[in-house]
Symmetry: C2
């Protein structure tokens, strides 16, 4: 059958999705999956829904779209300290999802699923006006140990993994490719930003360290500043902008156009880990993270509830943001 | 704030969804839910996605849309013999989802969730071009005991719960309200068909009986005839059309327009249980189902793989169907 044809539901499942199915998925031939949760562990459940023209560009490579849809869910599992168990896929498709498209989508999805040891367990295929991907991902943590968003205490140090702002700048670059700041980046730096927007890197290897060291954790999806507000919702906090880890690409962009600093700090789609760690455990946490290949950087400290939430500039003044979070609408 | 305003994401969650949250959902304030699965039990996972103008009419009452979205998932859990544990909601909303709309939606969702003891555990709220509801539902069965779709053996009797075809006729009635067959129905019969299309009745009380008696089960969502093909995929089977349970409304409609028989048998959206039961357990199964208030009707028998799948008319001839299943696209 030619690759330009839109496959029927059963063909789609049998040919492209069934090869990704894990144990308990019954080859995607049943109406439900069945999963044994090891005794002494809790199930962790997270759901992220991605809509074409809202969360991604429909014209992007199908494999990239697949990796983003699964990656943002794996990022949530990692932030909770969970070991991936599997996922279900709600696949709302249009006439654009031809056989060739679906093959490439399944290849990308399978590559990330194998890398994360997180097989496909089931889902639903429906017709939709735009491509709509609704993934529910499952993980396991020792009973009662899911790393909470709001477990931080005054005095805990706040860390972030990797670098911040690359994805937001990558999106901005696509929306305004002729802007002077884009022209100031060489091709390698542009490719870095473009890649960070397209391909979240879920910090799966950090999960066991968050279980061991973090008092609270979440992933950075809606912008670092707004997400620190959420982590410290019932507390005060102090952050230093100069400490926020930036890539060479982000630093170059910001040095060309200082307003891009706010884009980086509030733009979202980072899928890095934001966490708080008691000060006496911090040194070991940083060393262990480095051992699994992830740089974590201290950006601030949690304070008592009577304190404000402050971001300080390099000059020591309080920085005010126009908006603290990003709301998705491409 | 006026009811005609579209609520912000955090307001929506705090005001309308958080009151439906169950234990382990952390008041919907975390990025994930945590669930303890009792030892000796397996988790059962099912996902159904409903899209406006494909699976439901956007102008329908928000509470009805909510009940349908959750109900079709509860129907899958029931068919697998699972006790509901909870669900997550992917809520793809448009500018039509005002505060008043969301309040009514949450009321309908909460009513069905409470009735099924199936609380909200989490989810995601996004912007979408049409209302898109992606529910993943969780249940529990004794370890290794999920009732499979393809566990039937030759000689097992095939049963269906309730009545078949009402929802498909209810949909057809809405699409062609002036048809002679609609005019032949009194208001009470019309209301019955309309209600069956709007409000699936998940057969939760049958779940423990399916565990105890059924060799295979699934819910009837894509039309009885096509779904019996799936139940008997690796087997032969013989069914008698005259045995298929029909409501008074469906019988009246079909007596006016004989072509509606095929609509009833292949139209979908029934959300009744289709199952196979070994003949020596059948009598007890029927009696126990009646005890929990559900009529189940024998419609046929599974045969060896070398036999065909045949539907016989009341006159004893083989009935051929134009199409055996329904594909959703309103």
């Amino acid at each position: 059958m030619p690759g330009s044809v839109v496959p029927g539901e059963f063909e789609l499942i049998a040919e492209f999705f069934a090869p990704l199915a894990g144990g308990g998925a019954f080859g995607l031939e049943d109406d439900a999956a069945s999963l044994a949760i090891p005794s002494g562990e809790n199930l962790v459940i997270t759901q992220d829904m991605l809509v074409e023209d809202v969360h991604f560009f429909g014209a992007d490579a199908p494999g990239s779209i697949a990796k983003k849809a699964l990656g943002v869910n794996l990022s949530d599992l990692a932030a909770k300290g969970a070991r991936p168990l599997g996922f279900t896929l709600g696949f709302g498709r249009t006439s654009q999802q031809t056989r060739d498209w679906c093959r490439a989508f399944a290849e990308g999805l399978g590559a990330m699923a194998r890398e994360a040891a997180c097989p496909l367990l089931g889902g639903d295929t429906v017709n939709a006006p735009v491509l709509t991907l609704s993934i529910t991902a499952f993980g396991a943590v020792p009973s009662g140990r899911m790393v909470p968003r709001q477990g931080g205490r005054p005095g805990d140090l706040v860390y972030v993994s990797g670098t911040i702002g690359d994805a937001a700048l990558g999106l901005k670059m696509r929306l305004e490719p002729d802007a002077p700041w884009v022209q100031a980046l060489d091709l390698g730096l542009r490719a870095h930003l473009a890649d960070r927007y397209l391909h979240p890197r879920p910090r799966i290897t950090l999960a066991p360290l968050l279980l061991a060291y973090a008092s609270a954790a979440m992933d950075v999806s809606d912008g670092l500043v707004g997400d620190t507000d959420k982590l410290a919702r019932k507390l005060g906090a102090r952050f230093e902008i100069a400490r926020v880890p930036l890539s060479e690409a982000a630093r170059t962009a910001i040095s060309t156009d200082a307003a891009l600093l706010e884009t980086a700090l509030t733009g979202g789609d980072d899928y890095e880990i934001l966490c708080s760690v008691p000060p006496d455990r911090a040194c070991e946490f940083v060393a262990q993270a480095s051992n699994v290949g992830v740089d974590v950087t201290k950006i601030g400290v949690l304070e008592t509830a009577s304190s404000p939430k402050i971001w300080k500039s390099a000059m020591g003044q309080e920085k005010r943001f126009t908006r603290r979070s990003y709301t998705h609408s491409l």
